[in-house]
């Protein structure tokens, strides 16, 4: 860092970006006002990130793009050779390859799904880039945009809100059950702006859906800071699954911000599969669960290189009979660090909560820490936690090897098996890729 970026400089840069975004998106004034409100909040909002200092954050804002990533990627051939080789080894489909290369930007994938989704729109399913939803459904967006976050909570929420771009708006109308998983990509690669997609999910009464976002292969990002925000609303009896697949390049810091309100008898299964070796990933999702509602936060994590991961998760069980599970399984390799600190707070009678954390340490330089938090404000809540941190057991390895599998193959099998129970809801096509990535990681080939 050669020059000092002051908060004033940063604000001026953000302001320029707001201007550009509001113009580019042909944004209604109310949205631009929200951005400006966030800009005002940015200066005073606290910043407490264990990895990115305030000074660094200001630098990211001044210079969001990293160096060394090809400026113009027009075909798969423009990718760095090591990345191409990896994609080949993974057997990634052409559509996904394009996405990874930044060729399939949001509008492109929009086209792929367009005809199909038009049919479903008539039945009550709306899937749109968030910018477009702002124009087409301003009332619904206004009702749900930034309602689960305060703009001045932190510099990161303020910055995200000021410059958000990209993301998905998913609205499932009352009673509609979407029988297939919706797989959507939502990165905008061509932009020099920060990566700050905003996702809104509105599941009306008695709906069902499964949204899968991201992809299993590493993505060639041009930005070193990724700030996505997800706000999800589950009305009475809605059942939804959100599966996030991510494989970050090693220079990326991600700060996912996810919050959800889970209504009476509603269910939300929130699964995140992290396969890469980013720089750091820090998230503390929050869930408010009403009567007989249920939330499950599943974290599957493959920590490589010097990846620093800190996974929180707070569940407020506010209605009678509400339940929550926070479960994670981490395979921690190389010099990576994984910390889990879920909190479940029982605020109503007959609520149930469970935190579990399993970690497989693959290296002496890897670190795992877990801090489960259980808070009960009632006398009949059932709250529990369990944690197990260990290495691959010698007996298991010997058993598999005594059947003729070499050490690498036996280790791959054990590591895949360790994660397998958590991958039960992942569609087969992704499962195959995930397993391949685990195999490559175990044999040091990522």
């Amino acid at each position: 860092m050669t020059e000092t970026i002051t908060i004033k400089d940063a604000k001026a840069i953000i302001e320029n970006q707001i201007e550009e975004l509001s113009k580019r998106n042909r944004e209604p004034e109310w949205m631009t006002r929200i951005r400006y409100r966030a800009l005002e909040a940015f200066e005073k909002a606290p910043h407490r990130d264990p990895v990115i200092s305030e000074e660094e954050l200001l630098h990211f804002i001044a210079k969001p793009e990293i160096e060394g990533v090809p400026e113009h990627i027009e075909s798969i051939d423009d990718l760095p050779p090591e990345m191409k080789a990896l994609l080949d080894r993974l057997g990634i489909s052409e559509v996904e390859q394009k996405y990874i290369a930044g060729l399939a930007v949001q509008t492109d994938t929009g086209v792929i799904y367009n005809e199909f989704l038009k049919e479903w729109e008539k039945k009550g399913l709306t899937v749109l880039p968030t910018e477009e939803a702002v124009r087409r459904y301003p009332d619904v967006v206004k009702e749900h945009f930034l309602k689960l976050f305060r703009v001045d909570e932190s510099k990161l929420t303020a910055y995200h809100t000021a410059v958000w771009n990209g993301g998905i708006f998913l609205h499932v109308k009352e009673g509609l059950k979407v029988p297939f998983p919706l797989h959507l990509f939502f990165l905008i690669q061509e932009s020099a702006l920060a990566q700050a997609p905003h996702i809104i999910i509105v599941a009306e009464k008695n709906t069902e859906f499964h949204l899968i976002e991201g992809c299993t292969a590493p993505i060639l990002l041009k930005h070193s800071l990724h700030l996505d925000m997800t706000e999800a609303y589950f009305h009475e009896g809605a059942k939804g699954q959100l599966t996030v697949l991510q494989n970050w390049p090693e220079y990326v810091h991600t700060r996912p911000m996810t919050r959800a309100k889970i209504g009476k008898g509603a269910r939300f299964i929130n699964t995140t599969v992290t396969l890469g070796s980013g720089k750091s990933n820090i998230g503390d999702p929050r869930y408010w669960v009403d009567e007989n509602g249920y939330v499950e936060l599943n974290g599957i994590l493959l920590g490589q290189k010097d990846f620093y991961v800190d996974l929180g998760g707070r569940m407020y069980l506010q209605g009678k009979g509400a339940g929550g599970i926070n479960a994670s399984k981490a395979v921690i390799m190389d010099e990576s660090t994984v910390i889990t600190r879920g909190i479940i707070q029982a605020e109503a009678e007959k609520t149930r909560g469970h935190i579990s954390c399993d970690a497989l340490l693959m290296s002496d330089k890897a670190t795992m820490e877990t801090y489960p938090g259980l808070i009960s404000k009632v006398d009949d809540a059932q709250l529990s936690h369990e944690a197990a941190i260990g290495k691959i057991r010698e007996e298991e390895l010997f058993y598999l090897m005594s059947r003729g599998l070499d050490e690498e193959k036996a280790t791959q099998l054990i590591v895949k098996g360790f994660l397998e129970p958590m991958l039960k809801d992942i569609p087969m096509e992704f499962l195959v890729e995930i397993r391949k990535i685990i195999e490559l990681a175990v044999s040091g080939g990522m």
Partner: protein
């Protein structure tokens, strides 16, 4: 085929085997008996190549080749298979996927061929097709674990099958099917090294056909025919140990 010469083995700074000699030729049936702690399992695990069992003296050869320093996977590829006394649970690994991979690696089958073979043979050891989608040994009863070990032996068809107490912790019905499968493998030419406390497992085996070794304190102190099994069943090891001056 297998030749164990003056084998000394150290486990966690304790000398467990103190000079074992044993030779097993193609298709032979050998039984090792002895009290707890006499070194029977150590012998089995050392021949299979467990990394924690350190050979301090002597050597193991197989088909004329010194395998003392080989890893367990390489020994398996040469035709040695150990059926474990307590097979470990392997969380998240489905039996079918594991066995398919083993047959692909070890026997060069293609996965579809392997699948059909596994399902067919599984029935003979009382596993239903859906059982094969359970995780390896996870939540298995003693009998199920031992039957799964035998299923692997039947599928792999090793040159030498080492069975470490295939009869311990097993229900009567499982014991009978396991005993019959051991006999069948032997009949088809697999050499057997069977470790046991009781003669019951040998009910389907021709006693005139077997060699029996009695171990004590890390050594084989007596070798004889099938009649030794009946004698040990009847009167324990005391008499034999007295005779050999131990």
């Amino acid at each position: 085929m297998l030749k164990v010469e003056n084998l000394h083995v150290n486990v966690e700074d304790k000398d467990i085997l103190r000079g074992v000699d044993l030779e097993i030729n193609e298709g032979e049936f050998h039984v090792v008996m002895g009290p707890n702690g006499s070194g029977k399992s150590t012998l089995a695990l050392t021949v299979a190549g467990h990394p924690r069992y350190e050979v301090t003296r002597g050597r193991i050869t197989f088909d004329g080749e010194d395998i003392t320093e080989l890893g367990p996977d390489e020994r398996a590829k040469k035709g040695i298979l150990l059926a474990f006394q307590v097979p470990p649970e392997v969380e998240g690994v489905k039996i079918i996927e594991f066995l398919q991979q083993v047959l692909v690696e070890l026997k060069g089958l293609d996965p579809v061929e392997a699948y059909d073979l596994i399902v067919k043979k599984a029935g003979e050891l009382w596993f239903k097709e859906e059982d094969l989608h359970r995780y390896v040994n996870v939540g298995f009863s003693g009998g199920e674990r031992k039957r799964l070990e035998l299923l692997q032996a039947v599928l792999i068809g090793p040159k030498l099958l080492i069975l470490d107490e295939p009869d311990s912790g097993v229900d009567v019905d499982s014991l009978s099917v396991i005993s019959r499968k051991i006999e069948e493998l032997h009949r088809k030419g697999t050499a057997i090294l069977l470790i046991t406390h009781y003669g019951r497992i040998l009910e389907h085996i021709d006693k005139g056909d077997i060699r029996v070794h009695v171990m004590k304190d890390g050594r084989i102190v007596r070798t004889g025919g099938g009649e030794l099994v009946e004698r040990i069943d009847r009167e324990g090891f005391g008499g034999i140990f007295e005779e050999v001056g131990e």
